[in-house]
């Protein structure tokens, strides 16, 4: 919320000019396309060079000031649980702005304490807690908090939206759909983005894009900067899935024009430079820049992949070790399980630990994605029949994610199910951009 307000002012200035022009032209849309294809260099560094040095940001200092204000009030009157909620909100923003996990832990502690003080009697506080659990990938805990909120019923619609999110994560897809259908305002931003997610889940990427575009229009109409940011970056991701790389690139740039500090959009551009433009140097420049100003571990992993692509084994292993050490910190809990499983199995040959964590993931959320991780780590350890059984029972026909399809294809191939491989292959070829250049080669070889 504060986040939103903060960016609001910034962006108003930024957009003031644009709004003006649009209004004089009687054109309501501010999302104008600049046709990138007319440029000589489609993905010119000039497009985003400014965002490599986005300048000083006062939002972090502001959130710290906000945190201190409530902290001081709480010291004076320790019983005031609403102050704990305010501190958690500030911490949560700081986690988003810096990537430093200590803020997420702090938010979690304050939210748990506040809910305890009032014996879970406020739906709003329970939703805040659930949201924090979701960020930490503690989906069962999130679900439990939301079920309590559902009983209390204050702003049930908000609870229902989150129950959709959590049930999707838990693999309860039918139940998730029933919560989606309960949302009354079908034209609301909150409904559109969830409908979009649902369409993507059932493999209808075109429709997912249409709903996300409607969500963007809604956000623009509301002048809601944080929603606009969210829609631009998510649309950029979807366009990438759909092979519309220039649209994807332009939408990351649009997000950056609203918030020059947005690390997610920059990361997206790095991916385009690497996966589509095959320009590893530009991609690395962006990622090394992000590592300097954001504590999120993810950049290390992409850097490792690029080093791998360039054949720099030593540099790659160094980055992977850095990543594994960082993500094993207890503060991260289970947040990076997925990638740890894959790294342990693919790079470190530690199949036992990989399968252990994969089993833990399945216990936490029995989704096709979790089963895929177990199947994949079994496959890598040589248990190709076991892997095939898991794929057949829990993954095939239940997910359309290219990554899962690719894993399935390799497992089919190892089991000599060549017809099944041939069935999947065309779809995989369409997903080469999303899966990256390294796997592109593997797909051709299937």
């Amino acid at each position: 919320m504060n986040n939103f307000c903060k960016t609001l002012i910034k962006t108003f200035i930024f957009c003031g000019f644009i709004f003006q022009i649009c209004s004089c032209e009687n054109n309501a849309s501010i999302a104008k396309e600049t046709p990138k294809s007319e440029k000589a260099d489609s993905f010119s560094r000039d497009d985003y060079a400014a965002y490599l040095q986005p300048g000083e940001r006062n939002d972090i200092a502001k959130q710290k000031e906000e945190y201190t204000f409530w902290e001081k009030k709480l010291e004076k009157t320790p019983g005031q649980y609403p102050y704990l909620l305010k501190m958690a909100t500030a911490s949560n923003s700081l986690f988003g702005l810096t990537g430093e996990v200590k803020y997420l832990v702090d938010a979690n502690d304050h939210l748990e304490k506040a809910n305890l003080m009032i014996n879970n009697s406020s739906a709003g506080s329970l939703r805040s807690l659930a949201r924090c659990y979701i960020t930490q990938h503690r989906f069962k805990d999130a679900h439990a908090a939301l079920k309590k909120a559902e009983e209390l019923g204050e702003k049930l619609e908000e609870t229902n939206k989150m129950l959709f999110d959590v049930n999707m994560e838990l693999g309860n897809f039918d139940l998730a759909k029933s919560y989606l259908d309960k949302i009354e305002k079908k034209s609301s931003f909150d409904h559109l983005i969830r409908r979009s997610k649902w369409e993507d889940h059932v493999g209808k990427l075109d429709r997912a894009i249409v709903f996300m575009e409607s969500a963007l229009e809604n956000a623009v109409r509301q002048k809601n900067q944080s929603f606009m940011m969210w829609s631009y970056t998510n649309l950029a991701d979807y366009y990438g899935h759909a092979g519309r790389i220039e649209d994807s690139y332009n939408h990351y740039l649009k997000a950056l024009s609203i918030d020059p500090h947005d690390a997610y959009a920059m990361k997206g551009i790095a991916w385009i430079q690497y996966s589509h433009n095959k320009d590893a140097e530009r991609a690395k420049e962006i990622l090394n820049n992000l590592v300097q100003r954001d504590a999120t571990p993810d950049y290390l992993l992409l850097l490792a992949e690029i080093e791998d692509y360039e054949g720099n084994e030593v540099a790659k292993q160094k980055l992977l070790d850095q990543y594994l050490t960082l993500t094993s910190k207890p503060e991260y809990g289970v947040m990076y399980n997925k990638y740890r499983i894959q790294l342990l199995a693919e790079e470190k040959g530690d199949y036992k630990q990989a399968q252990q964590i994969a089993q833990q993931e399945i216990d936490m959320r029995p989704t096709p994605q979790s089963y895929d991780l177990l199947a994949w780590s079994q496959f890598l350890s040589g248990e190709k029949e076991g892997a095939l059984n898991i794929i057949a029972e829990h993954v095939a026909g239940k997910s359309y994610e290219p990554e899962l399809l690719y894993h399935a294809a390799e497992i089919y191939k190892a089991n000599n199910l060549n017809k099944k491989v041939a069935d999947i292959k065309p779809e995989l070829i369409e997903s080469v951009y999303e899966l990256g250049p390294a796997i592109g080669k593997k797909i051709q070889a299937l």
């Binding site: 002012i9 200035i13 003031g16 000019f17 709004f19 209004s23 004089c24 009983e151 019923g153």
Partner: protein, 182 residues
């Protein structure tokens, strides 16, 4: 302050924008406010929903028009009052206004604030009851007293007063009456 500058920039942009769409005769035109608006929240008397609406019905209370709230919520309120407060447990138990749980629930369920156009406006000042709501009225203690105070207002003193009696900043005697922000 920096923010003021920023904000005035915003306004500048806003006004320029308006100028663009102005009619030729330069009469300022209103922005486009078209569209259907639907109730999200409503309030008459302070804290009624928080205190008296049972779990699971708070959303419904916020979107039931006041003229229908009585029929829909009076009996709920009565039950809630008698469960919440031992001083309103039976039909013979009455509050400071001489109302039992059923009667009091009936009054509160229609959540509108009555305002006198002729006399003193106050939530409760010792003499006048529910003739408005001033900024300085200790409305929570009034409501707690009516719920937990019993017939003489003092039956359960530990629940009849939150012991916060006034705002922490003086109000203005002139418009807009509310104190400047901290």
């Amino acid at each position: 302050m920096k923010y003021i500058k920023i904000l005035s920039l915003v306004f500048l942009a806003a006004f320029t924008l308006q100028n663009c769409s102005d009619d030729e005769d330069n009469t300022p035109t209103l922005p486009d406010f078209s569209g259907t608006f639907t109730t999200a929240d409503q309030m008459g008397r302070p804290a009624i929903n928080t205190v008296l609406v049972t779990d699971g019905r708070k959303d419904a209370f916020n979107t039931t028009v006041p003229s229908q709230q009585g029929a829909a919520f009076a009996s709920d309120f009565a039950t809630r009052l008698s469960t919440l407060s031992p001083t309103l447990a039976t039909d013979d138990d009455r509050n400071l206004l001489g109302l039992n749980a059923t009667e009091f629930g009936g009054v509160l369920a229609t959540d509108v604030l009555t305002v006198s156009l002729d006399g003193t406006t106050t939530f409760f000042d010792g003499t006048n009851v529910l003739t408005g709501r001033n900024l300085s009225d200790d409305v929570i203690t009034t409501e707690l007293t009516l719920i937990f105070g019993g017939e003489d207002g003092s039956e359960i003193p530990t629940l009849s007063d939150d012991n916060v009696d006034a705002n922490d900043k003086a109000f203005l005697t002139v418009f807009p009456y509310l104190a400047e922000p901290f």
